[in-house]
């Protein structure tokens, strides 16, 4: 991955934050909201964008008669996010930050 070919998924901070939260395991909508400090509407929009891009797996279920949506990263999501982080690290290393 090059700096000029960053996928659409990583072009907003909220989407990067969502990916960072999901890289350590599956999360519910409520948990993602807490981790990213975002609003319901904004988070929902970015999640559906990531879903359309094929980065997320969504599981809907009822827990104690309440609907709960759980999100996790697909293989594609994990691979591309790792590539993106390596790219950032390389960029910083080349600039003398690391």
């Amino acid at each position: 991955m090059e700096i000029n070919t960053i996928p659409e998924a990583f072009q907003t901070k909220l989407r990067i934050a969502i990916m960072s939260a999901l890289i350590t395991g599956e999360r519910t909508f409520k948990e993602l909201k807490l981790f990213t400090e975002s609003t319901d509407g904004n988070l929902g929009a970015q999640l559906s964008k990531l879903d359309n891009l094929g980065y997320l797996t969504i599981r809907k279920e009822f827990i104690n008669r309440k609907p709960q949506t759980t999100y996790s990263l697909t293989h594609k999501g994990i691979t591309e996010f790792k590539e993106y982080v390596y790219m950032l690290e390389n960029l910083l290393r080349d600039s003398g930050y690391y």
Partner: protein, 236 residues
């Protein structure tokens, strides 16, 4: 205009902060402690019912004897079910602190309960003072691992408040344990029995203490999710 390097640096810092926040999320493990408190509350109710039956129907009634056995078996089965359920729930989150906490508490609760049961089985049932002293020591088998668990939880969550509360809890227990005082217990429908004050305190810790610990961890998780890391810019 920010350079690419500055943007990259901001992104790396943010990624690290979000991952760090996910590692300090205790909201899932907090329910484990709430359930341990509820299980112990159910055991307390079962004990009261069994004493009530004993007071009404006598020591040799089959209902009392059956309930007495249930009071021994129920917590161990409930602890195992609870441990397995939360292990399954937490394992997908790769949260090392919660995972570690669950393992420590699983060993403490299940291990100490089995050990206490085996210890009691070995004791002769006589009224000699020495044997009574050994009976009282069975409280230590339950309480000392719990104190250890509370200290471990305080260290893992870096909570000073939890360390102070555990120290106070420890002092109260040993003051009560050495005072040798007793209180009436299971007095519904009759005279019931007498238990040591320290034993009553262990019950309170196992019910109220665990529920409060669960609520505290849930609240602490929420406060960590607050503005500590200044993540307001993430949603932009």
């Amino acid at each position: 205009m920010k350079s690419k390097v500055e943007i990259a640096l901001e992104d790396v810092i943010m990624i690290k902060k979000v991952i760090e926040k996910t590692q300090q999320d205790f909201s899932r493990i907090s329910s484990f402690f709430l359930w341990i408190g509820i299980i112990n509350f159910l055991v307390f109710i079962l004990e009261q019912i069994s004493y009530y039956i004993r007071n009404i129907m006598g020591l040799l009634s089959s209902a009392y004897m059956a309930l007495e056995k249930i009071c021994i078996v129920f917590p161990i089965i409930a602890y195992i079910v609870c441990f397995l359920y939360f292990r399954k729930k937490i394992i997908g989150n790769h949260n090392d602190i919660s995972n570690g906490m669950l393992k420590v508490w699983g060993i403490i609760l299940i291990g100490s309960y089995i050990f206490k049961y085996l210890y009691i089985m070995l004791l002769p049932s006589t009224e000699i003072d020495f044997v009574n002293g050994l009976w009282r020591c069975s409280e230590l088998i339950i309480f000392l691992p719990i104190i250890f668990g509370h200290f471990m939880t305080a260290i893992l969550t870096k909570s000073r408040l939890l360390i102070i509360v555990t120290c106070i809890e420890n002092l109260i227990f040993f003051a009560l344990f050495t005072s040798m005082r007793e209180v009436s217990y299971g007095t519904l429908g009759g005279i019931g029995t007498r238990v040591s004050l320290s034993s009553a305190f262990v019950r309170i810790v196992m019910i109220l203490g665990m529920i409060l610990l669960g609520i505290y961890l849930k609240k602490r998780g929420s406060s960590i999710h607050g503005n500590k890391y200044d993540t307001g810019s993430i949603s932009n």
